[in-house]
Amino acid sequence: MYEAARRWVNDALEGLGNIGLLAVEIVRSLFTVRVNSRDIINQIYFIGVKSLSVVLITGAFTGMVLCAQTAFQFHKVKMDTATLAVVSVSMCAELGPVLSALMVAGRVGAAMAAELGTMRVTEQIDALRTLAAHPVDYLVVPRILGTLAALPLLTGMSITIGIAAGMFVAVFLMDIDPVYSWYNMLKHTGLSDVLQGLIKSVFFGGIISLVGCYKGLTCGEGAEGVGRATTESVVIASIGILVSNFFLTLTLTRLLEHL
């Protein structure tokens, strides 16, 4: 039991150290190697456009259920017109960025780990190295930049559709006054809430792509190794998103409170 715990801690620390080294290599590559813009655009298309439907459906139904639940509770204390304000602040600062990131981690993080893992087990990564191409320059950096660019855009769209769907539920299903709802929403939702969500999404994009690429590049042999790398990339990225979200909320709320 003690031995297993010690090994788990050792592996976790080694993994963190290796991800740190990969991050340093990525930064070095960003400053020394010219990235092919076509590779980045391809990644933005794959990560952004191809994830759009998943993220929009998640955002819309989250906004709708949050609105319905809040309206039921607020109705008891005659605060119905504050419902949309709660939906708006929650979608901007928490639910929009976190749920979009979790969906992208499941779709894109897993795909990155599987694609790079397959390339590793079929010696394609070694082939890249023999052809004088650094895997970080050619495979990792475009994926990192693509995710960093696409996730804030997806988050912005998720927030917008979530609030719109919430408004629809509030006005047409809950019979809440649209004018007061809109007024209260604008009164209680600040620039800091929107910025908080977008800044978080950049961090989450970094976590998803870094973990996905790391797991792919270091995956074990054979189909089993690729399968394990894919699963681990989703689990680690999801936990990373949820844990870092707490600390980001504390930090960003203080930093942005004067906006």
Partner: protein, 248 residues
Amino acid sequence: MIEARQLVKGFGRQRVLDGVSLRIEKGEAVAIIGRSGCGKSVLLKHLIGLLQPDSGEVLVNGENISKMDERSLLQVRRRFGMLFQSAALFDSMTVEENIAFPLRRDGKWTEAQIAEKVQEALEMVDLPGAGPKKPAQLSGGMRKRVGLARAIVYRPEIVLYDEPTTGLDPVVADSIDHLILRVCERLKVTTVVVTHDMRSVRTIAQRAFMLHQGRMYFTGTTAELFASQDPIVSRFVQGISDPKELVF
């Protein structure tokens, strides 16, 4: 010239290379042979810096590459071409894009020059017209040919082959052997072939190195290899198992 000095490499508790040394002169064609799992491919990957030894060193034209970081190694690897056992073609690209990859990465060629060089490489491996195909549409032998075209398109000084005929039928295997010979003669490259196909050794190599239990067991000309009376060498050359040993 490539030289390995006292290479030691282990994976976990298993020591795969245990003090292996060899020297390959410029323009030579050599074969590295040995039983499956004896460390031939591991040795080959050390020669191009894909693996770093636990101890010992690898010198390429006098330059020690065993202590270099990955970015410095990229410059050294421009002198090398390598054909992998599985060909390792990029499956998201067409044959043409695969062969053009190293030229595009170089950034000093126009698209017209790249197209011309790709065509030339495809003709050298007897695959004109295969350019638009995807790797998944190719047979095993064709994949190896494309892998070879990609490895030689930028005119390296040294070409490494990792089991080039494994998994191919005897006729295709023979055609790959002759292709390797053709590349070696036309481009005047140093050739290092890892194989356990003795027909390939006879066709291609001037000298042979035999690895056995992590050590260099035999070094000599191909004629000396085939004439050797050493029981381990002769049994391997003739493909006869040791009755005392269970081999699966």
